[in-house]
Symmetry: C2
Subunit: 235 residues, 2 copies
DNA sequence: GCAAAAGTGTTACGAATACACCCATGA
DNA sequence: TCATGGGTGTATTCGTAACACTTTTGC
């Protein structure tokens, strides 16, 4: 033993808020628990910390279990630890949120875990304090999306400006002016028109763009992050 | 036992980044450890979570141990949990930062813990990952101070505008234009001139102001927090 | 009377907003 | 030919930044 002898130890969980976007709607991936406690109810994907992994690694492992995806955007949100948050045993949970391209995930795994994508505006009841976690994640995403180009994590590599606008409208739950949006987002100088057209959603077709991270870094990394790449409306 | 039988448990620590401001300088309260590990080195004040208290309560208890203060501004920062962050045993630490009025704290307790106030710009080496915690706290404070009136937590109830400006200059590590600063901060409408003068620092004397939280809430609570009360310069 | 800090207004610039019409195409 | 969604430009407003002199008073 050691000099921490007399202190208490707790299970440490990681819970993941997994965002996806499918052309029109911002969604969360939730699992239907087929284990106790709260079997049959909906919850975030989670798991327990192992002794040999850092927190980020554990969150990443758990995310991969459900989606099959590695190296995806993942950020720690907040630590939840109310005494009675888990009825089985006092547990500390560190919530992480992640942004994935909804087309890339492994549908078999989703089936295996009885998981389902829910629109963020139509979530079912969730176990424990998972609703608080979701609210925190939505707020953080709004914050992040204004300052860093995280929105592109949620889109396919090639996307149209109307799609991108839809995504921002979903994140901020508001309508945006088409012209102003395009001007602002293009003024970053980091969106490259591929000159291909996406014609699934309109007769005229919309240009597909690509986010050029290198250009972005060159222009914005230097400014220390004080620039906002997108300014959400004040309501 | 229960169905969490097979999982690992960890000590959960709370570490506190304690900010104070003494007229000219933004400071942190650090303790000199008289216990292992790293005895004799400087560290943040910390302690271990107990089974019967929430995370916020534990952070608050630990802060009170060192300062004697209750009901002070305290906010969770981030969870640190690298495998080897604590050489004694794998420990998860949730960092909290707090803002206190440096005049109100209990100097005897500070002596008892061999604690000392250090200017944030001249910190000693710190144990473990405490430097990372401090950096995160400084960043969060800059974020918060732009959006919520947290600066006043660091000042006495009555303060002068030059003092307030000093504080913002310390937080953002920059010089500010006197006229623009006054206009912006007064435009909140939440600072009340007490018509008393503080003459310690100048012959002319500066008016003492009071922050009127109620007025502030009435004006800003409604806006959903989208307003910035202070916009730090882009450099 | 002078040094030292407190207090005060105006102008110039840039960013955000509001707003309406033409274009390309498939059906 | 018409319905549908994609694409474009300008004028106005508002907020931010830059900037210099007067006031008070203790020494």
């Amino acid at each position: 033993m050691n000099q921490y002898d007399s202190i208490e130890r707790f299970p440490v969980a990681l819970d993941g808020i997994i965002f996806g976007f499918d052309q029109f709607t911002l969604k969360l991936l939730l699992i239907k628990r087929d284990f106790e406690p709260e079997k049959g109810k909906w919850s975030l994907m989670g798991g327990f910390l192992r002794p040999d992994e850092n927190l980020d690694e554990a969150a990443s492992r758990i995310l991969k279990m459900l989606t099959g995806l590695k190296n995806i955007y993942l950020e720690q949100l907040y630590g939840f630890g109310d005494v009675d948050r888990d009825p089985v045993e006092r547990t500390i949970s560190i919530a992480y949120y992640s942004l994935i391209n909804i087309q890339n995930h492994d549908k078999d795994l989703v089936k295996k875990y009885s998981a389902r994508w829910f629109p963020v505006k139509e979530l079912p009841d969730l176990i424990f304090d998972h609703h608080k976690m979701v609210e925190a994640a939505k707020a953080r995403l709004r914050y992040k999306a204004a300052r860093q180009p995280v929105g592109f994590e949620l889109l396919p590599e090639k996307f149209t400006l109307p799609e991108l606008q839809q995504l921002y409208e979903a994140i901020y739950e508001t309508r945006l002016d088409k012209r102003n949006f395009r001007r602002r987002i293009l003024s970053m100088g980091a969106l490259v028109n591929t000159n291909e057209k996406q014609k699934e959603f309109s007769k005229k077709g919309a240009y597909l763009y690509r986010f050029d991270r290198e250009t972005f870094e060159r222009q914005y990394a230097l400014t220390g992050g004080s620039n906002q790449i997108f300014k959400p409306p004040n309501k």
